[in-house]
Every structure is written in structure tokens, then in C-alpha cells.
Symmetry: C2
Subunit: 203 residues, 2 copies
DNA sequence: CCACAAATATGACAGTTGTCATATTCCAGT
DNA sequence: ACTGGAATATGACAACTGTCATATTTGTGG
């Protein structure tokens, strides 16, 4: 495939960003980690590191949202939540609690490129907008599933936000504690909250 | 006071870390931002940047936990939750959604110092342990307050984890969206969850 | 007033970063 | 076979990083 090198760079950047953060991930690290040619960076990403980060964020976003939407459609809200949590647990355990969420990394760890100009400010916001769009995407999937099972619009939106935010926070905390205990606890409470909210609707 | 320079450096480091992340905060940035003498860094922090980060994390931890514990004692669980959320909302709005949580920054954005030796691995874990300790501290305060109002031990622990994790995640999301909407939504749902859990106990 | 340690100033160090310019290789289309 | 553009290789650039060594200042106890 023609785009293999490019895709490997994007996936490798997302992986490294999720482990170390944005600024601790250098382009030389990416080519080392993915065994890709360094000379191709400026060819595949003419706008430099900022473009690579941007593509890594949308890549990571889809990598989560596509199976999430599928699970929601096939297994309902509770099943979808379980799949969502399970995928994060898998990622934590498979990497020895090294990898977290690259989208959260962009939201927390601002990339500081060439300073001075007002390009700086606007380019920063471009990356933040991208991360915000991914979070909004995930929330939207959750919200739609809750709506479909009969929950009110505003309640669905609030619960969707709670689910995404709490799991993002929990994944970061699990990385710090090198344990999935927090994830287990949050999963149980979220299941309880969603179940009772849906039961109240049905009853 | 003798420790004014030192304290200004610690507070400034915590502030910059909460805005840009750990690796995007250089020691030269800290002295620029706090108008402190650069030559004093190695004097006040002989172990270098890692020590400054460590002190900034514990400083930020206490800055949250002390008023949180006070609010929990004076106003109960719901009041304490409201104070907790309000302090984060204040921080977001006062800084134009620039500042987030420096402890989360340490958990997400790994500081990469001098490589090679196994010091690397253990020193990394020292910072992660510190962040984990702060999160555990906040959770403990929440858990104790829930216990005191009659909730079962395991439920208290789970709910405390949910509260801290969801708010940490929400603050990061709000920084990305430059809006407190997510915080409003999460606050409302958390209040509902805690209220019904406590009501079930009392009734 | 003096001495002595704490605090600050200043400059240098090797290493890394993102970016770019220039060469070289690869490979499909004719 | 060959040509033209895509892809890769290689090295260099200035800027920045954390750290350290070496002055110089400051403030306080004698």
C-alpha cells in the first residue's frame, strides 16, 4: 500500500502520545518507534509536527468511536458501556499501564511550536478543537443510544458527558496507580446509574 | 520570608504545568513567569526539575484538599461537592480556560529527564506515585464524608472514585471546549447520584 | 565592623528538538 | 528503455533544554 509509511507514523505518534504526552513525543521518537524513514516526515506531513499530532488525534478518535458505535447498536447502552470500559482496560493492562488516551494528552499537554506570531494561538486552538470534536463525537454516540432507549434529551446528554468524562479521568488515574481498581469502581457505579435511569423510564 | 523565592517557584511551576503540561514547562519559563532568580534553581532544588515538579504536585494537592476537607466538614457531602466543582469552575473561567489540573498533567504527560539508567524508570514512578497519592487523598476525603453520612464502606469508596475521576476528566474536556457546559452537566448528575444514594440510606 | 553562609547572578556545557535543503532511490506510465 | 514525480536518505541549522561551575551579592550573628 502507498500510505503504509504515513499510517504507521500516525499510529505510532498516537501510541507514543498516549504513553508520554505530546511534547515528550519527538518526531525522531516516532520514526525510531515505527521504523519509518525520517526523511519522509516533511513529505507526508508538510505542516510538520502539528499536522502529525492532528492526524493522530482524529485517528485515535475513530479507533474508539467506530467500535463504540457498533457495540451500542448491537448490545444496547449497558453493553456498549461495558465494551467501552473493556477496551480501555485492555489498553491499560496490555501496556503495563503505560498507554492512556492520546486525545486527553492533547487536551492536557499543549503543544508549543514556533512561538511569536498569532499563528501560535490559533494553531493551538486548532488542536484543542480537534480533541474537543473527538470528545463530542464519543458523547454523541452515547447520547444517541440513551435517547433510543427512551431517556429524555437533556438527561441523555448529561449522562453521556458523565460517562465519557469519568472514564477519561479514570484511565488517567489508573495509569498513576498502575491498577484497574478505579476503573472497576467507576464501571459499577456508571452501570448502576444508567440502569436505574433507564428503568425509571420503562417503569 | 526566607522561602518566598522557593514558594513562588513551586506555585509558578504548578500554574504553568496546569496550563501547558509538564514537558512544555521549562525551568527558564518558571523563572520568567515568577520573576525569580534563575541562579537559585539549583540552590533551592538541588535534585533539579524532577524535584520542582514533585513539590508542585504536592503543593497543588494540598491547595485542593485542605479547602475540600473543610467544606465537607462544614457543609456535608453535597455542599462539599459543590465547593469542589465551584473551585474548578473558578479556575477555568478566571484563566480563560487555560489552566487545568497540574496533578492530571503529571499523570498524563510523563516527564522524561536524563535517560539511560534505571533511575529513569524509578524516578518516573516516583512522580506517578505522587500524583496517585494526591488523587487518593482527594478520594479519601470524599469517602470519609460519605461514610459519615451513613453510606456503606464499599459504596462510599466507589462513589468517591467516581466523583474525583469524573471531575478530573470534565475539567480537561472543558479546557478543550472552552466552556463549562460539561462541568454543569456532570455536577448535576453527580448531585443526583449522591442525593439518591444518601436518601436510600436514610429512608 | 567583620566574617561566614545563604542566596543570587552569569555564563558555559552537551544533548535534543523541529525544520529545511539537498541528494538519491524507487517505481508506474508510456 | 526512459522519464517524471513520488518517496526516501542524509546532513546541517538555529533554538532551546537541564545542569553545572564559578563569581558575586546579600543578610545576619559575633
Amino acid at each position: 500500500m502507498t500510505t503504509t509509511t504515513r499510517d504507521k507514523m500516525i499510529a505510532g505518534a498516537a501510541d507514543l502520545m498516549s504513553r508520554r504526552g505530546v511534547n515528550a513525543t519527538s518526531m525522531r521518537d516516532v520514526v525510531r518507534h515505527t521504523a519509518t524513514p525520517r526523511g519522509s516526515i516533511s513529505h507526508h506531513f508538510p505542516d510538520g509536527k502539528r499536522q502529525l499530532i492532528a492526524e493522530a488525534v482524529t485517528f485515535a478518535g475513530k479507533q474508539v468511536s467506530i467500535p463504540l458505535e457498533k457495540a451500542m447498536n448491537e448490545r444496547g447502552v449497558i453493553g456498549g458501556l461495558r465494551a467501552f470500559v473493556a477496551s480501555w482496560r485492555r489498553q491499560l493492562e496490555a501496556t503495563g499501564f503505560e498507554a492512556g488516551c492520546p486525545v486527553l494528552a492533547v487536551a492536557v499537554d499543549r503543544y508549543v511550536g514556533e512561538a511569536s506570531d498569532r499563528d501560535d494561538e490559533t494553531a493551538q486552538q486548532h488542536l484543542l478543537d480537534l480533541a474537543d470534536g473527538v470528545f463530542a463525537d464519543w458523547r454523541q454516540i452515547m447520547r444517541t443510544a440513551l435517547l433510543r432507549e427512551g431517556l429524555a434529551a437533556e438527561r441523555s446528554e448529561r449522562l453521556a458527558t458523565l460517562v465519557v468524562a469519568s472514564i477519561e479521568g479514570t484511565v488517567a488515574m489508573c495509569r498513576a496507580s498502575r491498577s484497574t481498581d478505579a476503573l472497576d469502581q467507576v464501571q459499577e457505579e456508571l452501570e448502576t446509574v444508567l440502569s436505574t435511569a433507564l428503568a425509571r423510564t420503562a417503569g
